[in-house]
């Protein structure tokens, strides 16, 4: 299973090389499709592996770890849990549809497919890496193909959109890098002399096993008690703390250099002696780090006020890239919040919950109003993403089980519905070459089938009960009101009411848009448009069925995530 998991990450890279060397454009497309199907099949195998071994449901499955850059304790460490599996499935499934949707791209089709497959490696790597360093590498690597995909195959202002996307997300990455390095350097004080660690699970307080070189240069497994590491970054206990950890830090670094076994042993005792008093030592750092990671991931998500790259990128990006951008890349932000920001800094998250939740509510309302004001259809859908991602931020911020489940489901649902919405826009744009809402209308009469699938797409986005968008939104709202038990009720209710109002706004802009595009009289200018073809209908059908199925049986996701979320709630200190 670990082999399949790692093969799945890198198969698309090999596929990318194959695409570059493909003899014809068609061969490149078929190679890409084959690779995506294979990747999807592998993710299904992993899914079956998960259902085959429910015993270790709560932990990390199929973990693989190998020393990578031993001088700074970097490991190539991958694995999967309930938090990553559904997103991996979403990624691999969507990737097939994206390749199908980009079948009509003629310009440099080989390079397009190669870059797309390379992007797929980056996305899967982000979801599956358990080492902060590796995570960062994949997080960055996924930027590059996106930059070229937007910049080469995009619309009229593609260069501007591409560089804006790149600079924005890179600024976020630098924030993340600062935190990452800080966590790494400080972690040495909690590992009991075993040096610094990038292990995500250790930073979250789990006990993990890593290998370290001993004095003879032989790798020895060492146990790292993550509880001591994680305690460094939480609020200090009530009693005043005597700062005596300096020696342990120095010795830890010394051991890092490989100064010898004896040095390690010496630091070991020092570390143990101080493990209690060092709790909360880096609380100040943790508070800053919480915001820095939040900014990094909010840019990716995107959350207001870091969202301004998104409308540009979406408007300029070609349709399939919009699909994958909205469907998967945005989820990297939400996923990283759930994987890194909250579990590593739970107390900082508790401390700042109101501000973060405010940003979430702001995104919901602001995004919805912005969407309402658009006349560009694609921009409207882009802003709807901002609004929908606001629910994710809010759900995570309130730190209740329902909120987290809702936020997570919202990501999956948005991955289906918004990718579908962008596809719907793309289908028409390919024919009309404009997206002006005021010039469209009457599409239902022209292509009733297209209209019907669109109805599902947009109503799923709107959150109509029975479709996937509903579950996420309602759970986030429930979770928000639940938070009144742990946070200031007045604030909680205010946020809850505003977020609920967002649902009305969503209905407003979706229905108004639907009316402008699909209702009204058929227009004669549509005569020249080629009818929607079978390939397009197939893509619509797959996503439409998924939207309905996940709306009716949300347990499909929750069955996988339950165990992991139970663990996460314990990490966050949330009971119930």
């Amino acid at each position: 299973m670990t082999l399949i998991l790692n093969l799945m990450i890198f198969l698309p890279t090999f596929g990318a090389l194959a695409c570059l060397g493909a003899p014809t454009k068609d061969a490149a497309r078929k190679t890409a499709l084959g690779i995506c199907v294979a990747t999807f099949a592998m993710s299904l195998v992993l899914l079956s592996g998960f259902f085959g071994s429910e015993a270790n449901e709560a932990g990390v499955w199929f973990e693989y770890s190998a020393s990578w850059i031993s001088s700074i304790n970097v490991f190539y460490r991958t694995g999967m849990d309930g938090l990553s599996l559904p997103l991996v499935l979403l990624t691999t499934a969507l990737s097939i549809l994206v390749v199908l949707a980009s079948w009509s791209i003629e310009k440099n089709a080989k390079a397009f497919m190669a870059l797309y497959l390379f992007l797929l490696t980056g996305m899967l790597g982000v979801f599956l890496s358990l080492d902060m360093f590796l995570f960062y590498v994949f997080f960055e690597i996924s930027l590059l193909p996106m930059y070229f995909l937007i910049g080469v195959w995009g619309g009229p202002r593609k260069e501007y959109a591409a560089i804006k996307f790149f600079l924005y997300t890179l600024a976020g990455s630098i924030c993340l890098l600062i935190v990452m390095l800080g966590l790494f350097f400080y972690s040495g004080e909690g590992t009991g002399g075993n040096g610094n660690t990038w292990h995500m699970m250790a930073l979250q307080g789990k006990t993990v096993t890593e290998t370290r070189e001993d004095a003879n240069g032989v790798d020895q497994p060492v146990k790292i008690d993550g509880a001591n590491v994680a305690a460094l970054f939480q609020a200090p206990p009530e009693k005043p703390v005597t700062p005596e950890g300096g020696a342990a830090n120095g010795a830890g670094t010394g051991a890092n250099v490989g100064a010898g076994e004896a040095a390690t042993a010496g630091a070991n005792t020092a570390g143990e002696g101080e493990s209690d008093s060092s709790a909360g030592k880096y609380w100040g750092f943790a508070k800053a780090a919480f915001w820095l990671t939040l900014i990094a991931f909010m840019i990716k998500l995107p959350g207001v006020p870091f969202h301004t790259w998104l409308p540009d990128a979406h408007v300029e990006a070609p349709t399939p890239i919009s699909m994958v951008l909205a469907g998967v890349l945005l989820k990297m932000g939400g996923y990283a919040m759930m994987r890194i920001t909250w579990p590593i800094f739970p107390e900082a998250a508790q401390h700042f919950w109101a501000a973060v939740a405010f940003l979430g509510v702001l995104a919901i309302i602001y995004g919805a109003f912005c969407a309402m004001a658009q006349t560009d259809w694609k921009k409207l859908v882009a802003y709807s993403s901002v609004s929908h991602m606001g629910y994710v931020t809010l759900g995570i911020a309130v730190m209740t089980p329902a909120g987290w489940n809702g936020a997570y489901f919202q990501m999956i649902a948005h991955g289906i519905s918004s990718a579908m919405m962008f596809f719907m826009v793309g289908v028409l744009y390919e024919r009309a070459h404009h997206r002006d809402l005021n010039r469209l209308g009457g599409m239902w009469l022209r292509w009733p089938k297209y209209g019907a699938w669109s109805l599902i797409a947009f109503f799923a986005g709107m959150g109509l009960p029975g479709l996937c968008g509903f579950i996420g939104e309602i759970l986030v709202l429930l979770g928000t009101f639940e938070a009144a038990g742990s946070f200031d009720p007045a604030t909680v209710y205010t946020y809850g009411i505003f977020a609920a109002f967002g649902v009305v706004l969503t209905a407003g802009y979706i229905l108004w848009m639907f009316q402008r595009v699909y209702m009204g009289k058929d227009k004669s200018e549509y005569d020249s448009y080629a009818p929607v073809n079978k390939r397009e209908y197939a893509i619509m059908a797959v996503m439409g069925v998924a939207a309905i199925v996940f709306g009716i049986v949300p347990a499909l996701v929750f069955n996988i995530t339950d165990g992991t979320f139970g663990e996460l709630m314990k990490t966050l200190g949330v009971t119930g």
Partner: protein, 639 residues
């Protein structure tokens, strides 16, 4: 003094041993002479001088590679030969070979057969100076080495004598260089005046007040409290002497010039633009690399001086108490005791802060000015200024590093190694483009992604590595520098880390400009494809593979094996194998032992000065002593 025959023989043996350590340099000099002579036999044949140069460099390379990993000084402390400098020499020689290749395969014109011997002779001369710079351990030697590196470089910069821009760059280079040298020599004369020595270690010791501390110690042991007080006052004043500060500052200006650090970097873009591409590539890497190695060495020596002062100070309390117990207790004694107790060893923080700021300013300046460069060579010139800024920042951590000094040294070496390949690659691509199109403007790259995708991909890799994309060597280099900066106490390290990260973000913009032109811009002029020759293809592929390899973690352990820097007070261990041949440790372990013995000996000396400590203690004791010593060193460096 009378010299017996045996004594003379011994001296000659020592001399030849020292000469043996300098074989790489000697090979370069012989090759230079050969290059000058061979054209007398056949003026038209380019391959004669090229062959001589390659033979010389390869022999030097073999001597460097077979070097025994000991650290030692030769010729009475003039030059320090240690793994750290040896690694740099190795990189430099390989790099020189590549430069010779780059020159030889470049488009030939009429004057090439005439020019080649001159070029190669100057190139090897500059390389010779740079290898000396990497080993210089004496103020005089620093001057000689820097000049030996600079003078051929000046001529190289003006090598395209028929070109106006080349002459302009060369003139600027000469003027800047001579002023910087004048500053440096003047500064050194001040340093000499204050410290009374030209030996770098003696200078550092004097700056740390070590001679005065020893005087105070001996005065106290012979019950002379007044003398001890006077000596301590002198010791306290030594590190803060304004004359010394000015002297060091002026000396660093000379080194900053070689580093092209702001504000003495103005020569760099003009020289890079005007010089032939082989020279530009050579100067961008080799000159800066040698200066960085020299900078690190100076920092280490000063750190050792501070450690020595701290080591002496740590024994003061006992000496003072002992003196009071044995001698007559008096007011002067109590006063001396109080002074002994309150003495704190110098840390040379000011020097590190100064160099850290120098690095930060250089990096920021380079990056900001690179923003609006339209000429690729100038853009890369400013980028190289920024990169030397990063390396200077890393070097500034050296003085605080204490027992983790290896981290810093490894970081600098790794960065240099990566820097060699990314700069060589980027400049070679520019050379290919310039040769084909006649200009080096970014616009010439327009549509290159479609015209010659291979070349565009390679240039993309080099630029992204220069920027620091994860997965390529430049990223890991930056990570290692960041890790080294953690050793800097106070907020300084974090400030430098922030500067480095912000600079990285800034640099993205201008590194993406060529990429933007290559991939996004529409080529309206129907430029044809740019074909690269087979040799260029090989060089570029090697560079790209090295960047990916180092980016995936390769060489990060290799550079760690070469971090031993000569530290005075360390006994000579000729061969790591012989030091540890009684145990079944491998060679790498042996190197740790080299350190250990030095530390253990110091400890032994500290505890009991009567024990001559000539015998090598057995491993177990050494390890324990090492452990204990590490902690004491750490506490010292935290002070």
């Amino acid at each position: 003094m009378d010299f017996s025959i045996a004594d003379k023989a011994e001296r000659w043996a020592g001399f030849w041993q020292d000469v043996g350590m300098l074989m790489p340099e000697i090979c370069l000099v012989i090759a230079m002479c050969a290059i000058v002579i061979v054209p007398f036999f056949n003026r038209k044949n380019v391959w004669l001088p090229v062959g001589a140069a390659i033979a010389g460099v390869v022999t030097a390379l073999i001597f460097t590679a077979t070097f025994k990993s000991s650290s030692n000084t030769v010729f009475h402390g003039m030059l320090a030969i240690d793994p750290f400098s040896q690694f740099f020499k190795f990189i430099l020689l390989i790099f020189t070979l590549l430069i010779i290749a780059q020159w030889t395969i470049a488009k030939s014109d009429k004057s090439k057969p005439v020019d080649t011997p001159d070029f190669l002779c100057l190139l090897l001369g500059a390389g010779f100076g740079m290898t000396l710079m990497a080993s210089a351990n004496n103020l005089l030697m620093i001057v000689v080495a820097t000049e030996a590196a600079s003078l051929p470089s000046f001529a190289l910069a003006g090598f395209r004598k028929y070109k106006k821009s080349g002459s302009e760059g060369a003139l600027k280079y000469v003027l800047f260089g001579s002023v910087a040298s004048a500053f440096m020599i003047y500064g050194m004369s001040l340093v000499y005046g204050v410290t009374g020595s030209l030996d770098l270690n003696a200078v550092a010791n004097a700056a740390a007040g070590v001679p005065h501390l020893i005087g105070a110690e001996s005065a106290m042991t012979v019950n002379n409290p007044a003398g001890a007080i006077e000596a301590l006052q002198l010791a306290n004043a030594a590190p803060t002497s304004p004359m010394l500060g000015i002297g060091l500052l002026l000396m660093f200006i000379g080194i900053a010039f070689k580093l092209s650090a702001a504000p003495v970097h103005f020569w760099c873009p003009d020289v890079f633009q005007g010089a032939p591409i082989a020279v530009t590539t050579f100067l961008s890497v080799a000159s800066k690399g040698a200066a960085v190695i020299l900078l690190v060495r100076i920092m280490v020596v000063f750190a050792v001086g501070a450690e020595e002062a701290a080591r002496l100070a740590s024994g003061f309390a006992a000496i003072a108490a002992n003196a009071i117990n044995t001698g007559a207790a008096s007011e002067t004694f109590e006063q001396a005791k109080a002074m002994f107790a309150s003495y704190s060893a110098p840390t040379f923080t000011g020097m590190a802060v100064g160099i850290g700021i120098l690095g930060a300013v250089t990096a920021t300046w380079g990056n900001l000015v690179a923003f609006h460069q339209n000429n690729l060579k100038r853009l890369l010139a400013y980028s190289s200024i920024a990169h030397s800024g990063y390396m200077i920042m890393g070097a500034s951590a050296m003085i605080f590093a204490g027992s983790t000094g290896q981290e810093v040294a490894a970081a600098v070496l790794f960065y240099l190694l990566v820097y060699v390949f990314m700069n060589l690659g980027a400049f070679t691509v520019v050379a290919i483009v310039a040769e084909r199109t006649g200009t080096e403007e970014i616009d010439e790259l327009t549509g290159l992604g479609g015209r010659s995708p291979g070349l565009a991909l390679l240039l993309g890799i080099f630029l992204l590595s220069l920027f620091g994309m994860p997965g390529l060597g430049g990223f890991l280099g930056k990570i290692f520098i960041l890790k080294a900066l953690v050793a800097v106490p106070g907020g300084g390290g974090y400030a430098l880390m922030a500067v480095l990260l912000i600079n990285t973000l800034i640099s993205l913009y201008y590194y993406m400009r060529p990429v933007y032109a290559m991939v996004f811009k529409q080529d309206t002029q129907e430029r044809g494809p740019i074909i690269m020759g087979d040799a260029a293809r090989v060089v570029l592929s090697v560079c790209a593979i090295m960047l990916v390899w180092t980016g995936l973690g390769g060489a990060s352990t290799l550079t760690r094996d070469f971090t031993t820097i000569y530290r005075p007070g360390q006994p000579i261990v000729e061969d790591p194998g012989s030091a540890s041949n009684s145990q079944d440790n491998d060679a790498q372990e042996g190197k740790t032992i080299v350190h250990t013995i030095g530390n253990a000996k110091q400890q032994v000396l500290l505890i009991d000065s009567n024990n001559s400590a000539t015998k090598t203690p057995d491993t177990k004791d050494v390890n324990n002593a090492n452990n204990a010593d590490n902690t004491t060193l750490k506490s010292v460096s935290l002070r």
